[in-house]
Amino acid sequence: MTRIRAALAAASALLLAACGGGGGSSDASDKGPATVKVSVIPIVDVAPVYLGNQQGFFAEQKLKLQFETAQGGAAIVPAVVSGQVDFGFSNYTSLVLARSKGLPLKVVAPGNASTGADKKDFGGVVVKAGSPIKTAKDLVGKRVAVNTLNNINDTTVRASIRKAGGDATNVKFTELAFPDMLAALDKGNVDAVQVVEPFLTTGLKNGGRLVASNYVDTAPNLTIAAYFTSQKTAASKPDLVKRFAAAMRKSLQYADQHPDEVRKVLGTYTKIDPSVASALTLPKFPTQVNSAGLQTLENLAVQDGLIKKAPDVKELLP
């Protein structure tokens, strides 16, 4: 209700009224599958949920998934908190940020994790072929593109630099969307780019050189992202959340064991070229949240000044 009132205050009452009120989603009822709305970013990382849906893991739990795609976690979090969607996908750092501001979020299942293998991860820092940058340490004083500033990628790149013994405070991060990075690197607008698949494969194929696997450098088997819901949903529909988490875990496990099917499902919700899809490095799809990794990300967020005080990790975890 405050929402509507506030909207009135914002003097767009007329317009809002014309558009109708906000949407909600159906309750979990006993008869028939419950429709749940899941908000995801259409990237490689969320392949398991699409694959699991295809495999009927959600139907088994009497869940009917309805996907809504967003451009980033920043749009997904409010949608989940306000109940527009039931579950969302976001990286851990975003969740930590949100939690530190007091947003009532709850992780229900892990999303994806680093492969843990150096130079064989699904994301990393790429430089141009002839670049003098050889290691993460050489990134000091250079311009590095990340997809969002003050988020998981710049903090993990800094971690990488620290690990290599460089001064992590002396890096010029520029915000650039993944698709635009390789062009910017090529033109010399930036010295290095932190990319994830499929751009990592494309970048390397076009003569780029991988200098660091920032997720691997941050922590062993770092969990990158997770599926989450609001504390309200978690409290009011515990059964629904449990069923979703179960189906999700099954999907993650299946995805982890069937990489070829993961590659195939990419074609259903992205426009990744099949030849790239067959070559790219897939992330790990763990079934358990790695709370140590989460703690590491939290510490990085504090260290790099994203937040002042780290929220209790347990508040976030199921």
Binding site: R3, L8, A177
Partner: protein, 260 residues
């Protein structure tokens, strides 16, 4: 005007905005909704958020890019518009191409512009130009074409030189349309100032608002939206002042025509 009349005017001018702001204040007072903080909280963060380094660090760079892009678009739009409006062949040749480019929303062009202009201020200025140029260009073309035949003949008869014909006839004659286009371009420019900072930015009002949104600093984000609104209002007011000066003859002419 009497004091009473002045008071009445002031009342009319301010009553509605005051009521709306008051309504907002009351409606959100004591709000616990994370995304809809009380107006008092938002205004409380305003000073902290914007007046300690961000004016020079974000607001001015944004406005600088806006000014550069806007003025460039004006020059380009008027220049091309005069050429296209005056040369029939050019108009016929370019019209469909221009219609096509105009129909492409500027945000879509950003990745393409990045290829040619990199990711620095140049790209952001180009984004602003790419959106602002159309209303100026099209209105200039129409303005030039709508120039009075008799006035053109007069200029020819008195052997006005090309330069002074451009300045004293074409540009002045098309100025009502050019101004209308410039006004549209200004509001588009503010929009694109924000949008351009969504891509590869490291400072700016739009950039900051989005950082706040991503970092879930909601009252700060709201203060940014309010700041954008204020910037919009201030620029529109400034434009109005210029417009009134430039078009004083036109308003008078129109009034005379209406009465006559």
């Amino acid at each position: 005007m009497t004091a009473l009349g002045l008071l009445r005017r002031a009342l009319l001018l301010l009553a509605m905005p005051v009521v709306l702001v008051a309504a907002w204040w009351v409606a959100t007072a004591g709000s616990t909704d994370f995304f809809w903080p009380p107006l008092s909280t938002i205004l409380g963060t305003f000073d902290d958020t914007w007046f300690h380094g961000r004016i020079t660090g974000d607001v001015l760079p944004s406005l600088g890019r806006l000014a550069a892009g806007y003025l460039l678009a004006l020059a380009l739009g008027v220049g091309l518009g005069v050429a296209i409006g005056s040369v029939r062949v050019l108009r016929a040749l370019l019209e469909p191409v221009l219609e096509f480019f105009r129909a492409i929303p500027s945000p879509v062009l950003v990745p393409i512009l990045m290829l040619f202009a990199g990711i620095g201020n140049g790209m952001k200025i180009l984004v602003i130009v790419s959106g602002c140029v159309w209303p100026v260009l099209l209105n200039t073309v129409e303005g030039v074409r709508a120039l009075d035949e008799v006035l053109r003949d007069t200029a020819r008869c008195y052997r006005m030189r090309p330069h002074s014909r451009l300045v004293h006839l074409v540009l002045r004659g098309a100025s009502p349309q050019i101004t209308a286009g410039a006004r549209q371009a200004l509001s588009i420019g503010i929009i694109l100032m924000v949008i351009s900072e969504m891509f590869a930015a490291s400072n700016g009002v739009g950039f900051t608002i989005i950082q706040f949104q991503r970092g879930f600093s909601i009252p700060q984000m709201w203060s940014g939206i309010i700041l954008l609104g204020l910037i919009g209002i201030a620029l529109s007011a400034a434009f109005h002042v210029v417009e009134t000066r430039v078009l004083r003859w036109y308003t008078g002419l129109r009034r005379a025509q209406r009465e006559g």
